[in-house]
Structures are given as structure tokens and as C-alpha cells.
């Protein structure tokens, strides 16, 4: 085994992000706050330190981010609702077993907002301004599952559209026609897995080979051919391989070393590559990758939902058998 995971340093790093901001640059990143909360809280859950965040205050904060005009969640109070922040908000509530804190009216409005983002071809936009991306399909499907409101009328066309995003190399792009990208593999295969449609995945072997070819000589994974490795792909690539049952298609020992080498032992946190600046996004996805690799003493993460298994065990899986 290579180095150690600096759990205490990472816990301190994550906690520090949610202290009162000191510098301008911190105030200027509010548009990422809800995502950062999910990444930060997720990190604490995986390293068994969830009690470091005060549950009630976190929930109160999440509720202040509801956009009254449509019922979705914004990234911070008074920011517009968006699919990205809406999923993060629901994942945070789910981790605290607090989805039911939403009132019946809030829930109804939220479900309506999410469903209204679906376009006639089955895809989803991120908000009413028209940007379409497989990420938003993933967001919408998981949101509706967490709210126990997914229906075949929503899921079936979404799955059909997702399959249209597959390319000549077996991997998926942002929309039909766009280049393959490992993060889009996660969102697309994730949608298939959440909707119990993995059997509809075409060119499975081609995709599995393409994904395992993402591992480069130093053990790290890249997101596209001939690009540099980056810790976050330890999640996007590996989770997809896990969903396909092919975790053994890469060298886990080398990847583990690559991730651990990207830690900052002093400040805490994990960076994209060795000796670079850390951030909470790479911290979370690095630890998620380690969890998939079976690193010791970590909570096991569910590759489909990107939440710990002990949380996803309580999800009502689709299709509902009632």
C-alpha cells in the first residue's frame, strides 16, 4: 500500500469552507455553494465525520435556497433555481434523512419544476433558458427518484434520448453529436442504471474498453483520449466501470497511489494533480474514488447515485412495484 489518507486534515479543510468567509474570492463563489455543500458533506459522510456539520442549520440553509418563482433550488439564497443545485440540495437533504421536511406544497411545486424542464425529445434543460446537457437528465432523474415521483412518461423518452448521445467509440457526449467525455459516461450510464435500463446500453464492450483506456502510465485517469489525468475522473470513469461490473479493468493500486499523492497534508484537501491547489470538488471525488477502490475505513459509495450505500439503501428504487 502507498501513503495514507489524511482524514483529519480533510475534515478540517471541509469544515473551514463553511466558516464565515474571510476573503473576496470566497464571497465570489456563492454560485457554487449548494454543490460545494454536497461535496463537503459527502466527504464527511465517507470518512465517518458527518456530525461535524450541524444538521438543523444545514437543512435551514438548504430551505432558504428555494426559488419561490418555480420551486427549484438555487445555488445560494436569492440565486435562480437550476437543475445542478436542485439535485445537490436534495442529496444533502437525503443524507440527513430530511426530504420530508419539504411541505406538500413545496414538494408538488418542485416536482412540477423538474418535470417542466423536460423537452419534447426527452432531454432536459438546466433551467428555462435552454441549455441542454446529459448532466441535467441525470439531475432530473435522480431528483425524481429521491422524491419518489419518477414515471415511465418521464423516464422512457429520457432513456431514448440518452442512447442517442452515444458515439462511434462507445462513450457518450453532452448532447447527440458531441464528443465523448468520461463525465458524460457517468451521467448517461447513471441514467440507464437508475431507470433499470442498463440492458438497453448498446456497444457495451466498446465503452468498457474506452473507459479502461483512460488510465495513463502514472495510474491516474483522464476524461478524454490524449488529455492529462485528473483526480475527478477517479470518480467519473471508475463509477461507470463499477456500474458495468468492470472495476477490474483498471489498475486499482496505481490509481489509489495517484489519488493519495494529490493530497495536501498541510492544508488538507485533494487537488486535480500532484502539487497543485486543492478544492472541495476534487477532495470529494478523490475520496469517492478511493471508496470504490475499497480503501480501508471509508464508507462505501454507491456508483449509481454518488451517495453512500447506507443512504441509498433507503431509496425507493425505480420501477416501483406497487
Amino acid at each position: 500500500m502507498s501513503g495514507e489518507l489524511f482524514v483529519e486534515a480533510h475534515v478540517n479543510y471541509v469544515k473551514d469552507l463553511f466558516r464565515h468567509p474571510s476573503y473576496l474570492i470566497h464571497f465570489m463563489a456563492d454560485h457554487l455553494k449548494m454543490n460545494a455543500l454536497y461535496w463537503g458533506l459527502g466527504t464527511l459522510f465517507l470518512v465517518h465525520h458527518k456530525e461535524e456539520f450541524p444538521r438543523d442549520e444545514v437543512i435551514k440553509f438548504v430551505l432558504t435556497c428555494i426559488d419561490d418563482s418555480n420551486g427549484g433550488f438555487g445555488a445560494a439564497p436569492n440565486h435562480d433555481a437550476h437543475m445542478l443545485s436542485t439535485l445537490s440540495a436534495l442529496q444533502v437533504l437525503k443524507m440527513f434523512d430530511a426530504i420530508d421536511i419539504l411541505s406538500k406544497e413545496q414538494k408538488t411545486k418542485l416536482v412540477e419544476f423538474i418535470k417542466s424542464m423536460q423537452l419534447s425529445d426527452g432531454s432536459f434543460q438546466g433551467d428555462q433558458f435552454g441549455e441542454v446537457d446529459t448532466r441535467f437528465v441525470y439531475n432530473a432523474i435522480q431528483c425524481l427518484i429521491l422524491l419518489e415521483e419518477l414515471t415511465p412518461e418521464i423516464a422512457d423518452p429520457a432513456v431514448e434520448w440518452i442512447i442517442r448521445c452515444q458515439n462511434f467509440d462507445g462513450c457518450f457526449g453532452m448532447v447527440p453529436g458531441s464528443e465523448s467525455h468520461a463525465a458524460q459516461a457517468f451521467t448517461c450510464v447513471g441514467v440507464l442504471a437508475m431507470t433499470n435500463s442498463l440492458d438497453k446500453l448498446p456497444k457495451k464492450e466498446l465503452l468498457e474498453w474506452w473507459l479502461s483506456d483512460r488510465q495513463v502510465d502514472n495510474g491516474g485517469l483522464n476524461g478524454r483520449p490524449e488529455k492529462l489525468p485528473d483526480v475527478c475522473y477517479s470518480w467519473w470513469v471508475l463509477s461507470t466501470l463499477a456500474m458495468l461490473g468492470k472495476l477490474n479493468y483498471i489498475d486499482g493500486v496505481k490509481l489509489e497511489k495517484f489519488i493519495l499523492d494529490c493530497q495536501d497534508s498541510d492544508k488538507g484537501g485533494i487537488s486535480d494533480r500532484k502539487d497543485k491547489e486543492v478544492d472541495v470538488y476534487h477532495t470529494y471525488f478523490g475520496i469517492c474514488g478511493l471508496s470504490l477502490l475499497g480503501y480501508k475505513n471509508l464508507e462505501r459509495i454507491d456508483p449509481i447515485y454518488c451517495l453512500p450505500y447506507n443512504i441509498t439503501a433507503t431509496i425507493k428504487k425505480y420501477p416501483y412495484n406497487e
Binding site: 464571497f27 463563489a29 467509440d169 478544492d279
Partner: protein
Amino acid sequence: MSFIQGYSENSSFESVHGREKSAKLSKDDALRRMKSEKSKVDNYKKLCNKVLIGNKEKIYNQLYYNLVTELLDWNQELYTVWNYRKNLIINFLFKDLKDDDYSKKHEIFENELKFILSKLKKSPKSYWIWNHRIWCLKLDKLSNWNFELALIDTFLKVDSRNYHVWSYRRFIVDYMKKDNSNNNLIDYEEFKFTTKMINRDISNYSAWHNRSQLIVKLFINSPIIIIKENDEENDSYLKIFNNKDKLSFLKKELNLVKTAIYTDPEDSSVWFYIKWLISEFFINDLKDNEILDTINQMIKDIEELNEVEFDDNRFDNKWCLISIVYLMKQIYKLQKTIDTEKFSNLLNKLEKLDPMRIERYREFKINF
């Protein structure tokens, strides 16, 4: 809102890629930095709150339009403020215009596109900003597509793999098609663009990808209206598409591919493309002997390259072996017979040559 007591020492929630590490500040330095930034922070918070409230309360006037500009000059990643700006354009700048006053609207959009461009130069990978540009172009009935294509060229010169820029190019091309009756010709021009990009750098996977998309479209939608090409090379591609002649296409394309693998045998981009060339889309339309001849020729070429590589490095080229295995599998599909000894030798070599993926080769051998 903060959940944890005290002041933060870390800088931000921002995701940074490739940024150089900054040292942890001492208590004194941190305090000094906080003090020096205090008035900026106050001004930023004041401006930000004012704009966010304006957005909530749907205030659409000159004052707030100016505040939005000022705030985006300060922080161009605020998606909510870009949204507000869209509403300001529609509800304030367009307020006194007739619905069909396209030229006045175009003037407004021209200014907006200039503003966006200055932001894109600072963050060429920002989803929100590219999206704002697309939003403008969708509404502008007099968009200058050629200007956008030229702009894409300059961005690709800086970063030839920028995912956002390639997506943007496909968006522009789709919109150009709406204004044009000869869509095949536009696709054909795009196909030529990928040739240009590949000739510039054979490692441009984004270009190979786009090429695969365009080839499928050109074969399905051909014939392309006949035009006289001056360039003989391109002209022969045109004939091939018009005749839906997949065999000639493969021969021509395999020549291009051969040049590419000889240029840089370690580059993975083109090897993925080869796999696709010898797949269903092409071979389903060919006669058995045509396919076998093509594949066998390809195997011969790759084996020759591998020999050169072996002489230079004293070990086999991984991509050569992977591709031969794949091509042999395609032969097996057709003939139901194969040189099994050669086949498993190749896989054994791959296990040693590429131990990170040893399990993949083992499974492949077992499943075969």
C-alpha cells in the same frame, strides 16, 4: 450563512484545475489580507445583493442593466446574473421595439456579443457564458454565422481540444443549416474542416470524432449537390459520397489513417477511429471478399509498423497489437475461423505489455 464558528482560512468553493499551490497564510498575513480586502468585499456584497434583489423583483431598467454589467465585469461566473441580463435584454432593451424590428435587435445583440466575447477570452470553458452567447444567437434573426466560425477558429488555435468550442461549432452549423437549403454541402464543408484540423495535428481526437459524425450523415444524406472542387483530393471524396461508395471511402480513409499512425504510433486518437472504420457501419454494406481484403491489408500495414516500432524500442506497440486483435475478431465474425494461436499469443503479449489492463485481456480471451 456559515455553519461552523470562526473565520475561514481557505479561499473558496471554486473548482480549480491546474492552479499552482498557494501557501497557507500565517495568522498575521491572513488578518492583513482580510483587512486589505474589507472595502472590496463590502462593495461586492452591496452590489451583488442589489442585483439579486433586482432580479427577484423583476426590475428592468437602465440603472439595473448597468449594475448587472458592473457585477459581471467583477464576477462573470454568476449564472443568476446572466439570467437576469437575458430578462433585461427582452424586457428593457427591447421594450420599445416592434416584434419584427430585427435590425434594431441585431444591433443590440451585436453589442451583447462583444461583451460576451470579452468574458469568454477570460474563461473559455465557462458553460454559462457560452450558453448566453447561444441564447443571443437563437433570438437574433440576422446572425453573422461566418463571424462566429472565424471566432471558433481563433479559439481552436489557442486550445484545439476545447470541448465547449467544438460544441459551439456544432451548434452554429446546425443553425446555419436552418438558413440554407443545401445542408449536405454544409456538412461536406465541415468534413473538410476536420481534414484540415487533422492535418494540422493528427492527435486531435475532437476532430476525429466530428469526422465520424459527418461521414455517417454524408453517406446517409448523399448525393451532395455537385460542385467543382479545385482541390483534387477533396473532389474524390465528393465523388465517393455522391456514389455512396463505402469501399473506395475505406481505401482512401485507411491511407489517411496509415499516415497518422506512422506519424505518432503512441497516439491513441487514431486507433479508436480505426476500430470504427472496421465496424458495422461500413462492413455491412460490403461484400465478404471486399471486407476480408481490406482487413487483411490493414493487418499487414499494422504489423509492418509494429516491426519498425519493435526494432526501435525493443518492445511491441500496444495499440498495434490491440488493433490486430480487434481486426482478427472481425475476420472471425465473417469466416468463423481464425488463427487461434496467433490470436492468443497477441493477447498474452498484451497482458505483459499493458499490465494495468491485464484483466480486460484475460476476460476477452475467455469470452472469445
